[in-house]
Amino acid sequence: MLVQVLLTGVLTGGVYALMVSGLSLIFGVMRVINIAHGAFLVLGAYLSYWLFTLAGVDPILSILVIAPLFYLVGVGVQRGLISRVGGDAGFVVLLTIAVAVSLEGIMGALWQSTVRTVRTDYTSTVLSFTVGTMPLRVPLVRLGGFAASLLILAALYLVLTRTRLGRAIRATIQNPEAAQLVGVNIAKVKATTFGIGLATVAAGGAMFSLIFSFNAGSHVEWISKMLSIIVLGGLGSLPGALIAALLLGAVENLSAVVMTSYISPIVFYLILFLVLVFRPQGLLGTRLRKS
């Protein structure tokens, strides 16, 4: 049974990774926590839900529509709102809170408070197989979500490591001043990163809509979980976010079985606490340079 629990937890963790990767990336480049990330996640989920119920588009396919859309929204929000309030991180965080509250209001008006979830033909399909004598069950939506998340994260990782844009983003994460000195257009990198960050959360939202149910207010629960994952993984680190997300998925499920489901969130925060005490930069993060 523990193996089954662990397996389900890790599959869910893969989807968490996709949900938080953009948040980590945005922090890395802009040194700003985007509180609206959870609201954008729910918005992505609603758009998938809409495309599915109105046009019959599968949520995984709907990523092709909503991710580019979110990219444009991200660039727009960064250029039109965030870059205008200047360099004070505190103000930017306040601004993202305002965006989150506004989005919640708009979503509440559009979709009411009824909880929604996407039910496809394969929603309750389960693949069962046996390893040795152990029967295992893998729900198709979680497997699909896990696979799609890994694919998208791999593509993102390649962009970050193999392209000029990726080098510019990583240079900005490591040292913005030095990056600017060698000719990186920081303003453009910031806008692009915010766009990419939202595009990934749109994809995460599409996966999320298949597995979880949500309404406009759900972002409050999820942003705290998402923030915890990226702090655990190391702010700004994509592989760190992936490892932390898988770890959270596994720990959340295992502790629910070994102890009780009531204290499983505590176990996760305990790990977070220990990491912050002994390794404040997170699992794979680098310490912020003090200039």
Binding site: A98, E104, G217, E221, S224, K225, N253
Partner: protein, 428 residues
């Protein structure tokens, strides 16, 4: 997780609340059918405008703080609609005691402290004539204390947990057929009616940590165990829980014959999907809230709803006082069809009916006189005749529903059943 968030998120929450409190949209005043969004100044007492011929009487102001956002937003919004339908119908028929009724409904974001502050303000600043209750025991318990302190009658639509009635309050009246915990009674009666060789032998309880659901769970456990069933699993999860897969895998491992979910809605869908994923097929399945909200429940689960049981206080086709008019008016005001009218809206409408009939009986909206009257009278409502004992607990019983095909039908108790229940439950 709500109690363990970082200080940073607490700041976020406070800011969000401030934003909501400052927003002019936070207060909605309803008179008749017209819903206008106003700032807070319009709610200060205005002298009645005297015309040259007849003196118009000031409207009767009724206040409520409802969870329109946050985890109870679904039932909270339904309750708001129920109150609005009641006020609209009443005003069209000439008002209450010849005066129009004006509702002031504010959003407490499903937060106890906000709800308490809201009722304080409604009574002391807005000086409403009457107050009506919010959704669910969690918010009814603290807010009813506020009403008691100011001597206000507190008729409420959805707080039926044991703790609602054991605090010595005499101003509270629960406008559903029976105490919340008694929702489990028709289930236990039904299980007991199944022939002994077919009857479930084991059961599991998986419940959200909420005063209402836990009250039902305690009562269900007691009744089922005294009926000879054995509990094999009992788990209470935090309200913030979103992933039920680990719980479901444990339940599947023990394979109890009957599963009882103490749920609100979102979690009933989460639990059922997780049970499907884990390959758990019980012989009977019961969830407190969720199956009784047909729209979202069916949308999320499709034909996997077949055979699922729940308790209910009201349904759209019931032949009770004003029910047809209520359903028609609801559809007129909010669209959809009769099947879309939520039970929580009906419970709020019931509150209105009780208050209205009590006020008419005594010819006044004086709260002390109303409290006295409410302990004595019997009120003919859309959930049937209601009367209250000395602590405000209603003296009736719930109905048992079961999903059959694309809707739910009443299967118990015996004298109110529309169709025979399906047993064992088909696979989900």
């Amino acid at each position: 997780m709500r109690r363990r968030t970082t200080p940073f998120l607490t700041v976020v929450a406070v800011l969000a609340m401030l934003a909501a409190a400052c927003s002019p949209a936070a207060t909605t005043t309803t008179t008749g059918q017209a819903t206008t969004t106003t700032g807070q100044t319009t709610n200060t007492t205005a002298a009645p405008v005297a015309t040259t011929t007849t003196e118009q009487q000031a409207p009767i102001k009724i206040g409520a703080s409802l969870p329109l956002t946050g985890r109870f937003s679904e039932p909270g919004s339904a309750a708001k609609q129920g109150y609005e339908v009641w006020a609209a119908m009443l005003n069209e028929a000439g008002g209450l005691l010849g005066r129009q009724v004006e509702l002031t409904i504010v959003d407490n974001a499903s937060d106890q402290d906000t709800a308490v502050a809201d009722y304080e303000k409604l009574i002391t600043v807005d000086k409403v004539d009457l107050v009506v209750g919010p959704f669910s025991s969690f918010l009814v318990i603290p807010t009813s204390e506020v009403a008691a302190r100011y001597g206000y009658a507190f008729v409420e639509p959805a707080g039926g947990a044991p703790d609602v009635f054991n605090r010595g309050l005499t101003n509270l009246f629960f406008a559903q057929p029976a105490r919340g915990a008694r929702q489990a009674d028709p289930l236990a009666e039904y299980i007991g009616s199944i022939s002994a060789d077919q009857r479930p032998k084991t059961f599991a309880i998986v419940s959200q940590d909420d005063p209402f659901t836990l009250g039902v769970m305690d009562r269900a456990k007691e009744l089922l165990e005294s009926g000879g069933l054995t509990e094999v699993f009992h788990e209470v999860y935090a309200p913030e829980t979103t992933d039920f897969s680990a719980l479901a895998i444990q339940v599947a491992d023990l394979d109890p014959d009957l599963i009882i979910g103490g749920t609100v809605l979102e979690d009933s869908i989460g639990q059922i999907r997780a049970y499907q994923d884990a390959g758990y097929q019980p012989r009977a399945a019961y969830f407190t809230t969720g199956p009784s909200l047909p729209g979202p429940f069916r949308e999320a689960l499709g034909d996997k709803t077949e055979g699922i049981l729940a308790s209910i206080s009201w349904f759209p086709e019931a032949a009770t006082n004003q029910n047809a008019e209520f359903v028609a008016k609801f559809v007129e005001m909010f669209g959809g069809s009769a099947g879309d009218v939520p039970e929580d809206a009906a419970n709020a409408f019931t509150v209105g009916q009780v208050l209205e009939q009590a006020a008419v009986n005594i010819g006044s909206v004086d709260n002390a006189a109303l409290i006295e009257e409410l302990h004595k009278g019997t009120y003919d409502t859309i959930v049937g005749p209601l009367s209250f004992d000395e602590v405000g607990a209603p003296q009736g019983s719930f109905m048992l529903l079961q999903w059959q095909g694309d809707t739910f039908r009443i299967v118990g108790p015996g004298d109110r059943a529309e169709v025979e229940p399906i047993y064992p439950k088909p696979a989900w």
